[in-house]
């Protein structure tokens, strides 16, 4: 029997003997580079909010699969060592054990990276947690393109995966204010919930917008006559910055922040879309397959709202490794790239 040799993947880069020079950005600079320079940040909003909640709620527990320091759960672990469970590098166990604790009346917050929860532990979240509608709160770092480590760490399809799961509430917060609000709301929500977690020094953006996170509600952050952006997660930051930039050119951009991906606030979305003949753009830090864009499109079509709709999001492919600013530029989710894209659509 003759078996042809496997056609090996060739590196897309040429061998090279030196770094790209002083301007070349390092992958290791990735975590801090989420946002514009000089923006105020809040340290570990998830961890500190959880500690705050735990003061009055004995039933709150924290579990992690060897990533407590990388999901800000270590803050909780330091404050409440006997309420923290290190489950080891075992995501199936993490979710199953959280389900078992919830069965006995506790409210476990389970943390890992979004890729590991959504991909590796899916069956355990589905059958041990969601099918029984247990109050397990899953908070996952590195959503979408927030690391330069490549596809093993980039959860570009987690929203698609999690929103397809019955009973699951899915949240994609924008900033530190949103993370804190979503953490409180998840705790008060009766069933299971999945939150995309922003960790470490998280930008503070929404404090100037008269905004509070409300589960299942979208909120119009700014009004504009020419174009409506419906966004979630860090793309709301980008959308707000793009709106400010274009306002100087007399272009009116409205931004509707929809941090709850499921259940989607269909009422508000339809109302804002129908306000006038604005072009509608959905922007998300997620694959263009299966995330907020698809959810909005389906909502509009099934409610007989027929408007031009465009998408800003990550391509349906495994993304490159590299420095985050480089990658955000490459995949079109920097403020500059968003502005350019919006201009192009408005002129077209």
């Amino acid at each position: 029997m003759s078996i042809p040799p496997h056609s090996r993947r060739k590196s897309k880069y040429e061998p090279r003997s030196h770094a790209g020079g002083m301007d070349s950005v390092r992958t290791s600079a990735m975590i801090a580079s989420l946002d514009a320079e000089g923006r105020e940040t809040i340290d570990a909003p998830f961890g500190h909010t959880l500690v705050d909640l735990a003061k009055t709620r004995d039933d709150i527990l924290g579990l992690s699969a060897d990533l407590s320091k990388y999901t800000d759960l270590h803050i909780f672990a330091q404050a409440y060592p006997d309420r923290f469970y290190q489950m080891g590098m075992a995501e199936a166990l993490l979710m199953s054990a959280a389900a078992g604790l919830a069965r006995e009346g506790f409210v476990p917050f389970a943390t890992t990276y979004a890729v590991f929860a959504a991909r590796r532990a899916y069956d355990f979240i589905a059958m041990a947690i969601a099918e029984e509608n247990l109050p397990v709160k899953i908070a996952c770092a590195l959503p979408g393109l927030t690391t330069g480590y490549g596809p093993s760490h980039q959860a570009t399809e987690d929203l698609a995966i999690m929103r397809a799961m019955p009973n699951m509430t899915v949240v994609d917060p924008c900033d530190a204010i949103d993370v804190a609000g979503a953490t409180r709301a998840m705790m008060n929500h009766e069933g299971p919930a999945y939150m995309r977690l922003l960790r470490g020094k998280v930008p503070k953006v929404l404090d100037v917008y008269d905004y509070d996170f409300v589960l299942g509600r979208a909120k119009l952050l700014c009004e504009g006559k020419d174009l409506l952006i419906i966004s979630s997660g860090i793309m709301t930051m980008r959308a707000l910055d793009a709106a400010k930039f274009l306002a100087k050119e007399g272009v009116g951009i409205a931004v509707l922040h929809s941090p709850t991906i499921k259940p989607l606030d269909q009422e508000t979305i339809i109302r804002e879309v129908q306000k006038n003949g604005r072009l509608v753009v959905v922007a998300e830090n997620h694959s263009i397959t299966g995330g907020l864009g698809d959810a909005v499109a389906k909502t509009l079509l099934t409610h007989d709202v027929f408007v031009p709709l465009r998408q800003i999001g990550l391509p349906d492919e495994f993304l490159d490794a590299g420095a985050l600013p480089t990658l955000h530029d490459q995949y079109g989710i920097t403020v500059e790239r968003v502005v350019g894209q919006l201009r192009h659509w408005l002129e077209g």
């Binding site: 080891g88 199936a92 166990l93 389900a99 069965r103 355990f124």
Partner: protein, 272 residues
């Protein structure tokens, strides 16, 4: 009532349910009837009139398709009424073919996706300890489930957390969907594996009521702060000779007239 009589009754309930559907996992139910009899009528604390009683010992069935066996035990325990036997696997029944927590009083977890039960049991055992509740978590799992990596994640975790309130029961019938478990991943001896992971491990004839009682007692009273496992070597279809002789026993079809034959043989074996 003697345990022998309990095990006999569990087999009878299961046979009657099997007859309702004409096929199914009767082989597994007959195989674990003795384990279920010892669990419910020797080892476990429960209240027939309150399946949610906080102090009850929890019985986690990870192998959803064994539901027919557990329903039979729950009927015998008075948790489910006997007159629901005719509804087994029917539309709107509280006793679906695969066990689910939302359907059946006494069915603690939703099984069926294999390799889940022991992990959930770890969390529940941790929860009981937090509440200073002295109840015990029993998890009945199959030899096929030993192939699931998640089972071993839970095995390691139970040792890490010193879960002396967790008793795993492995139904080692050397059968899984495609054939003998020994020709799949169940290689080598199970006992030293579990011991190496830090468990108090025992291996017994799972169809020997006396041996099971001794093993359950030892598991419950073992003084070390470690999880416990009882590896039970069982015989599929145990108790009905012509079914025991069948080669394909994972999911068996029994001809309509054979149910009467099986029940007749079973009736003849009724203990006093």
């Amino acid at each position: 009532m003697s345990l022998m009589r309990r095990a006999w009754a569990i087999r009878r309930h299961a046979l009657l349910m099997g007859e309702v559907q004409g096929q199914g996992y009767i082989g597994q139910a007959l195989g674990v009837a003795d384990i279920l009899a010892v669990s419910y009528f020797h080892a476990m604390n429960f209240r027939a009139d309150n399946s949610e009683w906080e102090q009850r010992d929890r019985f986690y069935l990870s192998i959803g398709h064994y539901a027919i066996g557990l329903y039979a035990a729950l009927i015998e325990a008075g948790i489910l009424p006997e007159d629901e036997i005719a509804t087994y696997g029917m539309d709107d029944s509280r006793m679906p073919m695969s066990g689910m927590a939302a359907y059946t009083p006494g069915m603690e977890i939703t099984g069926g996706s294999l390799g889940h039960g022991l992990g959930i049991a770890v969390g529940a055992a941790l929860g009981l300890k937090r509440k200073k509740n002295t109840a015990i978590i029993y998890n009945l799992l199959s030899d096929g489930e030993l192939g699931e990596g998640s089972t071993w994640e839970a095995v390691m975790s139970a040792t890490q957390w010193q879960l002396d309130n967790l008793i795993a029961i492995v139904d080692f019938n050397n059968q899984q969907a495609d054939g003998p478990s020994r020709s799949a991943l169940a290689q080598g001896n199970e006992l030293p594996k579990w011991e190496a992971f830090g468990w108090f491990a025992q291996e017994v004839d799972g169809n020997d009521l006396d041996a099971l009682m001794v093993a359950f007692d030892a598991a419950r009273h073992h003084p070390e702060p470690c999880p416990r496992v009882i590896i039970c070597n069982t015989k599929m279809c145990c108790g009905i000779s012509f079914l025991e002789a069948r080669e394909k026993t994972h999911f068996i079809r029994v001809e309509p007239d054979e149910w009467a034959k099986a029940l007749l043989e079973h009736e003849e074996k009724k203990p006093l």
